[in-house]
């Protein structure tokens, strides 16, 4: 098992290298750079500009720039954010927390509700509740998450039940530890629901379809025929088999979450990576863009690895093949 994990990590290195090259190519191709604002500024002299250019390596060949950047990254130095004037690593690390908080709660929300609802729908096929859930799922899949987020904010502004954006309340520092956690949760509900609904609806339909497929299999008929309690037939056999394809969706779901978070974070003013990426692009903050793109790729690689390990955990056949 450990060997498998190590092999996967080694295999992901060329992919990450490719991502960094792609990201660097995109940024180098972009017209202008961060110093453009300084060049327009008449109070900054040519000498100062030259100094800055040398400092940030803009006077060198693109390949040299890339290799220099890569060398720095390998030693843990992700460069310096031009616009925020702090090391990129600190900045991204600070934002990563908010994004992970959002992503993980969203995953719990969509998987924790989607899968049970899918099982319920499959076991009550064609019933009124099944049809109601199917209808809601179609709405959930089709509603654009930023529109949903706007609707949520509209609701929050009208009723005052939820905060209108942000990560913490103004009086956050005065709260007790439990109060602080509650405050986080209270703020995360909006982004979580709007970001997670599409995933939840998709999961539910997928789970329903898979479970219905499994319930038609012969082994289920056999288990019933030999008198196994219905509970065991469903939860020990059918559901266990139906969940495998769903687990492989985990990595894919993470990609959707990180991407979708760009819009949700923008609407809710959530200080996460998605917003950071947009701010960095607007400011042409080169090292910051590189770091966020690379980090998002790393997160995806980790997510896929986790999905595979999860699959090995739920499916003994795969566990057997790996070891």
């Amino acid at each position: 098992m450990l060997k498998y994990v190590v092999r996967r990590i080694i295999l992901s290195i060329p992919v990450l290298l490719g991502v960094s090259i792609l990201a660097f190519a995109i940024i180098s191709a972009a017209p202008g750079d961060f110093l453009d604002a300084y060049r327009m500024n008449p109070t900054i002299s040519i000498n100062q500009l030259r100094l800055l250019e040398r400092q940030f390596g803009f006077d060198q060949n693109v390949f040299v720039q890339y290799l220099k950047w890569l060398g720095n990254v390998l030693t843990g130095n992700f460069g310096y954010s031009f616009s925020y004037r702090i090391p990129v690593f600190d900045l991204v690390f600070a934002r990563l927390g908010a994004t992970l908080l959002l992503s993980i709660t969203t995953l719990i929300f969509s998987w924790g509700i989607g899968i049970p609802l899918g099982i319920y729908s499959a076991l009550h096929q064609y019933s009124l509740s099944d049809q109601a859930f199917a209808f809601l799922a179609f709405i959930g899949i089709s509603i654009p998450n930023f529109f949903f987020a706007l609707l949520w904010l509209f609701m929050a502004a009208k009723t005052g039940w939820f905060p209108i954006g942000g990560l913490i309340s103004q009086n956050f520092n005065e709260l007790s530890i439990i109060g602080k956690m509650g405050d986080y949760l209270w703020h995360v509900v909006g982004p979580m629901v709007t970001l997670g609904t599409a995933g939840l609806a998709g999961l539910m339909r997928q789970m329903r379809g898979q479970l219905l497929d499994q319930l038609r299999q012969d082994y289920v008929l056999f288990a019933r025929a030999k008198g196994m309690p219905e509970k065991n037939v469903i939860y020990k056999h059918a559901v266990r088999n139906a969940i495998n394809p769903i687990v492989t969706m985990f990595g894919y779901a993470l990609s959707g979450l990180l991407g979708g978070a760009v819009l949700t974070e923008t609407v809710f003013g959530w200080p996460g990576m998605g917003r950071l990426v947009i701010e960095a692009l607007n400011a042409q903050d080169m090292f910051l863009i590189m770091a966020t793109l690379l980090l998002s790729a790393v997160l995806l690689v980790i997510g896929n690895l986790l999905a595979d390990l999860l699959l090995a955990w739920v499916d003994p056949r795969i566990r057997y093949r790996l070891s």
Binding site: P14, V15, L16, G18, V19, L22, A23, I26, I27, A29, A30, P31, L123, Q125, Y126, F138, I139, I141, S142, I143, P144, F146, F147, L150, L151, L153, F154, A157, K158, I164, L215, R216, V220, R224, E230, S255, G256, L258, G259, G260, V262, L263, T266, V267, G274, V277, I278, L281, N282, Q284, I289, T292, L293, S296, A297, L300, V301
Partner: protein, 553 residues
């Protein structure tokens, strides 16, 4: 599983095909069968209708729009949807009409509120001053417009009914009255206020007259029509209002009558024939200026289908009113017309992007799967790299590479290209997988053995077998492109102002203030939702219809 469900399944499997169906299955072509299966799918047909309507809207957006989507109106920022009236002044049913919005700005909060403003086509009144009945009617007797001066007086009243006037009377001259206060034409409107706040605010140092009466018990505001004017010559509104002000001042101060005022106007180099007046009007009849909703109304010109120059539209109202079915945005542009025009972008971008994605996906996936080896390796590693950046991150990064100050149609094409660039890796991986499977089938092997060139084998033998997957997958991935464009535009990285795009329109609703005061700005989101839902439902229906089991084989 419950017993009922088992029975259900059994009946499903053993459904007998009727004779008619058997005939159809035997003699209908595959696509006829697919169409037959699709027609039975209620939601699928519904979505097909919805999408067809949306495409028609996109094509005929110019004709269907009541007003020009690019036309800004300064006085109509965030104006609510027009109220459509169905009954005339006497309460009888008529053809629908609207009144124009007038805006009022609260001097304390700077909030703009809109009320329906009414101007007058004609006013007939008895002039108590001269004892003569006078009729002003627009267009008759060279009357250009009718102005009203309203008078409002505040006074405090004590327990015995003694009055103390609070300041001097206020006069206001305007062409329009609020629809809600039309009563003023018939009688003096009296507002009584006896709330504690108002009474406490009365200070004898400010209003000397208060010393002459007892403790005030209420404050009364009386509003009435003071004077009616007719504008008789073409002139700027401001000048007319000024002239009216002068006339009012002369008459009210008792310095002279209308003739004296005319002399003064002449001295001020304003044509004295510009206005006529009813000094003390007692209004007997009036007709309000209504803006009927006209069908095939002629206004701004456009080219239907890009060829036929036309200038009439399905519905519309005359200037200066603006028919706002879904309200207006920050610049006073008609949201409804912008939504119709935005349909062009959203409805076409998905189709274009999917075509490019599929050409890329099919050729790259096909090549990788068919040739295998090093080609496969390189292409698949490339897709892996592209797929390991979250798609929206990649989307906005790529957009940022490209210059932003481009003409709107170039931006549109760029977005299509970027969206396809994001889409092809996933598509080609699936196609590759299918090709790998098909390559081993006997009919492909036979074609290879017969010495057909690779291109022919791929195009004629392999690709047609992926058609089912392609059709379903294309329909189901169109929403992704529509959402991609909307998301980009929402972030300000896509279609730029002033072009109408649903995502861009939604970005105006981002601030809480705009959202709560002008919730109609959220309507474009409903349209995105409907279109996305339509494609999702259609894709599902197509998947069912293309499933061989549903065709009756």
């Amino acid at each position: 599983m419950k017993k009922k469900d088992i029975v259900d399944n059994n009946t499903l499997q053993s459904t007998e095909i009727s004779k008619e169906d058997l005939f159809e299955v035997k003699y209908m072509s595959r696509w006829q069968l697919v169409w037959r299966a699709l027609r039975k799918h209620k939601l699928g047909m519904l979505s097909l209708w919805i999408l067809a309507i949306m495409y028609l809207i996109a094509i005929f957006a110019d004709f269907l729009s009541p007003s020009n989507p690019y036309e800004m109106s300064h006085g109509l920022s965030y104006a609510p949807p027009s109220k459509i009236h169905w009954t005339d002044d006497n309460g009888k049913l008529t053809s629908p009409y609207i009144y124009a919005w007038i805006s009022e700005r609260d001097p304390d909060t700077y909030r703009t509120t809109y009320t329906e403003g009414v101007s007058f086509e004609s006013i007939a009144a008895l002039d108590r001053n001269s004892g003569e009945p006078v009729v002003f009617r627009e267009g008759e007797d060279s009357v250009k417009a009718i102005y009203l001066t309203t008078k409002s007086v505040d006074f405090a009243v004590d327990a015995e009914g003694n009055r103390a006037y609070l300041g001097s009377a206020e006069y206001r001259t305007s062409q329009v009255l609020k629809l809600t206060e039309l009563d003023i034409l018939e009688r003096t409107i009296v507002n009584e206020n006896s709330s504690k706040n108002v009474l406490d605010a009365l200070s004898p140092t400010r209003y000397r007259e208060l010393r002459n009466i007892g403790t005030p018990v209420k404050v009364v505001t009386e509003r009435s029509i003071h004077r009616v004017f007719a504008q008789k010559e073409e002139e700027v509104r401001e000048v007319v209002i000024e002239a009216i002000g002068i006339v009012n001042e002369i008459i009210d101060s008792g310095e002279g009558d209308f003739e004296v005022a005319k002399e003064l106007l002449k001295e001020l180099e304003i044509s004295p024939a510009i206005i006529d007046v009813i000094v003390e009007p007692e209004i007997s009849e009036y007709a309000t200026q209504k803006y009927p909703i006209k069908f095939f109304h002629s206004s701004w010109s456009y080219k239907l289908l890009g060829i036929i120059p036309l200038d009439f539209h399905l519905v519309g109202t005359d200037q200066p009113s603006k028919l706002l079915l879904f309200g207006s945005d920050a610049y006073g542009r008609d949201v409804f017309s912008r939504i119709l025009h935005g349909a062009r972008i959203s409805m076409s971008i998905g189709l274009l992007a999917i075509m490019i994605t599929f050409s890329l996906g099919l050729s790259i996936g096909g090549a990788a799967g068919y040739f295998g080896g090093i080609t496969d390796e390189i292409l698949m590693r490339t897709t892996e790299i592209l797929m390991s950046i979250p798609s929206l991150y990649l989307l906005i990064s790529l957009r940022a590479v490209l210059p932003t100050n481009l003409p709107s149609h170039i931006t549109y094409l760029l977005i299509v290209v970027i969206l396809s660039f994001i889409g092809w890796p996933g598509m080609s991986r699936v196609i590759r997988g299918m090709v790998l499977g098909l390559k081993e089938t006997e009919f492909v092997q036979a074609a290879v053995v017969m010495g057909y060139p690779s291109a022919r084998v791929i195009l004629r033998h392999i690709i047609p077998n992926t058609a089912t997957y392609i059709i379903v997958s294309a329909t189901l991935s169109i929403p992704g492109y529509i959402l991609g464009e909307a998301g980009l535009s929402f972030l300000g990285l896509g279609i730029a102002e002033p072009s109408p795009s649903w995502g861009l329109m939604l970005s105006q609703a981002q601030s809480i203030k705009a959202m709560t005061e002008a919730p109609w700005l959220l309507i474009p989101g409903i349209f995105i939702f409907i279109v996305v839902m339509g494609f999702n439902l259609l894709g599902d229906a197509l998947r069912d219809a293309l499933d061989p089991r549903s065709l009756g084989y």
